[in-house]
């Protein structure tokens, strides 16, 4: 999990500094969520669940949301992708991209409900396009992040546990 620790720190640095590099406003992809989806699809163990929670908590440290919100949401995304990977015989990259897209929407919905309340607000229509764009942007970055993590795992000898071990 040391690899994911480093990857999380790098992702957080990038997410908090990329907007400053550019002269125009841009939606930043949720790199940390991509790491959580990767954990859920490929690393099936208790450390992976703990790592997903920790990544969510770390994201809370740098976001304006309520502390613990992203921890809950990321853990929920981890559970969902874990269950998905168990249901599918061989989860490929396409499934990973779709899971990332869905994960961003799920987290955005959760954050919106936590901020606006369960009754929602009239601003939902205004934020929906931005959420969809961010989800698409994050999904576009997912294959590259997955490939980098694969390469790094291979270099460090990190073993990916398969769900089949527990069946």
């Amino acid at each position: 999990m040391g690899l994911f620790t480093i990857a999380t720190l790098i992702a957080l640095i990038l997410q908090t500094t990329i907007p400053r590099l550019l002269p125009f406003e841009i939606l930043v992809p949720e790199l940390t969520l991509i790491l959580v989806v990767d954990l859920g699809l490929r690393y099936h163990g208790i450390p992976a669940a703990l790592a997903a929670f920790a990544i969510g908590y770390a994201t809370d440290a740098f976001s304006g949301n309520q502390l613990g919100l992203n921890a809950v949401l990321f853990t929920a995304v981890f559970i969902l992708t874990y269950g998905l990977s168990r249901a599918v015989f061989s989860p490929g990259r396409v499934l990973g991209v779709m899971a990332v897209f869905g994960g961003v929407l799920f987290c955005a919905l959760g954050t919106y409900l936590a901020g606006a309340g369960w009754t929602g607000s009239e601003n939902a229509a205004l934020v929906t396009p931005a959420i969809l764009i961010q989800a698409a942007l994050t999904a576009l970055c997912a294959p590259a992040i997955f490939a980098m993590m694969d390469g790094a795992a291979w270099m460090t000898g990190l073993r990916r546990s398969s769900s089949r071990e527990y069946s």
Binding site: A52, F53, V72, Y82, S167
Partner: protein
């Protein structure tokens, strides 16, 4: 068996427990300084040096990008502003010109009202084609009621008379033409003479007796005796008076009141001046 169950569902159970923990964090509304927020604060502190370094770097980079992008925009804006400036300068020049013309026409109008004579304003549209004669072309002619020998004046003073008239143009012979002959008097001493030009440029007053009292700076005005110009119109000032040779007359050089090189609007007196009753002073 229980261990098998825990092994099979360890991940879900752990994740579920973490979910509950997270919900507890949310619902308890973690206060700043609480134990639960200490790891978050530690993480912020951990990444602070990296973010500070990156911020310094990104300021320069984004500044560079900003500057580059702004340069492109600035150049376009600069070109547009230069063009606008040129247009405004041109507009300003036109406005100044209109103001000046307005002023000149106003002066002519005042002059006409002062003279209490019929007069028509005309624009100078050309000058003499040769260097020997001193004439001007104006843009109105017989259709405006002009006739030969009508007096032409400017706000500054006497200009000349019409010597050729076409339907929509006319020629003005200036008083400094060598063929011109204008009857004039010294306003101070009442000395009388004929104002005319010299072939090589200049204005003189001829046939002024040697005993006449003329001094540099004296004002010369029309006498009204020639039947063309009304009496009292400003001709010029005496520039120099000399006596050369054994002749009967003084050599009087004048500086004209009107600058013939800068004339643009003129007034043509379409009414003959009233006949004068010659004063006893003038006769003497």
């Amino acid at each position: 068996m229980r261990s098998s169950f825990l092994r099979r569902n360890g991940v879900i159970l752990t994740a579920g427990t973490l979910l509950i923990l997270g919900l507890h964090l949310i619902l308890s509304g973690t206060r700043p300084g609480a134990r639960a927020s200490r790891p978050a604060i530690a993480l912020i502190e951990l990444l602070r040096p990296v973010q500070a370094f990156e911020a310094g770097f990104s300021d320069e980079t984004s500044g560079f990008v900003h500057d580059y992008l702004e340069l492109v925009g600035t150049r376009r804006e600069n070109d547009a502003l230069r063009k606008e400036l040129a247009e405004l300068e041109s507009e300003r020049a036109r406005t100044s010109e209109l103001e000046a013309e307005n002023q000149r026409l106003g002066d002519l109008l005042e002059l006409r009202d002062a003279l209490a004579m019929k007069a028509v304003a005309a624009n100078v549209i050309g000058s003499d084609a040769t260097g020997l004669s001193r004439t001007l072309i104006i843009g109105q002619g017989s259709h405006s009621g002009f006739r030969r020998d009508m007096a032409v004046i400017a706000a500054a003073g006497v200009v000349g008379k019409l010597i050729a008239v076409a339907p929509d143009a006319a020629r003005v012979m200036l008083i400094d033409d060598h063929n011109s002959a204008l009857d004039a008097i010294d306003q101070r001493s009442r000395a009388r003479g004929i104002v005319g030009g010299v072939i090589d440029d200049g204005l003189t007053m001829k046939y002024v007796g040697r005993t006449e009292d003329l001094k540099p700076g004296d004002t010369i005005v029309t006498s009204g005796m020639d039947g063309i110009f009304p009496r009292g119109l400003l001709v010029g000032k005496v520039a120099q008076v000399s006596q050369e040779g054994p002749g009967l007359f003084l050599n009087v050089e004048l500086s004209p009141a009107a600058d013939f090189r800068k004339l643009e609007q003129l007034l043509v007196l379409t009414q003959k001046p009233p006949e004068l009753q010659i004063d006893a002073d003038d006769r003497n």
